[in-house]
Amino acid sequence: MEAAQMIDAKGMACPMPIVKTKKAMDKLDSGDVLELRATDQGAKADVAAWSKSTGHELLEQKEEGGVLTFWIKKK
């Protein structure tokens, strides 16, 4: 998937993946897609909940070799 920006939060612990995502998202334009990579297993629930609450759309996610990748579209 084409992403406007990629955030690498691999190895980072809570709350960093979400904090980094939020910071990056603030700089993007509406409709842009952000790609987030993380290894914190809590990110699965965190990213879903965060997207829902902030109104951004979690388009897709996958898990490969312990790395979680999320694509989130800015509202």
């Binding site: 612990a13 809570c14 709350p15 904090v19 939020k22 910071k23 902030t54």
Partner: protein, 159 residues
């Protein structure tokens, strides 16, 4: 623009682990676009202290308190298994391994995310803490300042 949601945390505890929990929630809430305020009172004020000594003019009792209490976040002990500070050092090593942020960094990140840090002046007086002993950009306030935020807060925690 719609009104931002609010998260308010009272940090009463001076334990390293509990303060970590408070600052992780606060930083998370800021990422949720909430207006976040941490009110520190009693032992929680130690998290707002500058590291190292700050020369201030105060009485004997206040000086004693100043020496007995942890100077700054990284000097705070664990609520369980502290073993005179040894447990705290151990857990910090484990945190490093898991790339969890130490409390000092969580506080810096909170300030970077424009989280309001408010120190309770009544307990500052009780513990003999002066404003110049606290980190920069700490606001001072009392119960009314907390309640003003809390009454329209969506998340209110006492830690």
């Amino acid at each position: 623009m719609e009104e931002k949601k609010k998260t308010n945390i009272i940090l009463f505890s001076g334990d390293y682990d509990k303060a970590m929990a408070a600052f992780i929630i606060a930083n998370g809430a800021a990422a949720y676009d909430h207006d976040v305020t941490i009110f520190a009172t009693f032992w929680g004020l130690n998290a707002f202290r500058k590291e190292g000594g700050v020369h201030t003019d105060k009485g004997r009792m206040e000086k004693m308190f100043e020496k007995m209490m942890p100077r700054g976040a990284e000097k705070m002990g664990l609520s369980k298994m502290n073993y005179a500070g040894f447990g705290q050092k151990m857990i910090k090593n484990v945190m490093k391994k898991h790339q969890a942020m130490p409390l000092r960094d969580l506080i810096a990140m909170a300030q970077e995310q424009e989280i309001n840090l408010v120190a309770c002046t009544m307990t500052m007086d009780l513990l003999g803490l002066k404003e110049e002993e606290l980190l920069d950009d700490i606001q001072l306030g009392g119960v009314a300042a907390y309640l003003a935020e809390a009454e329209d807060g969506q998340v209110n925690l006492f830690i």
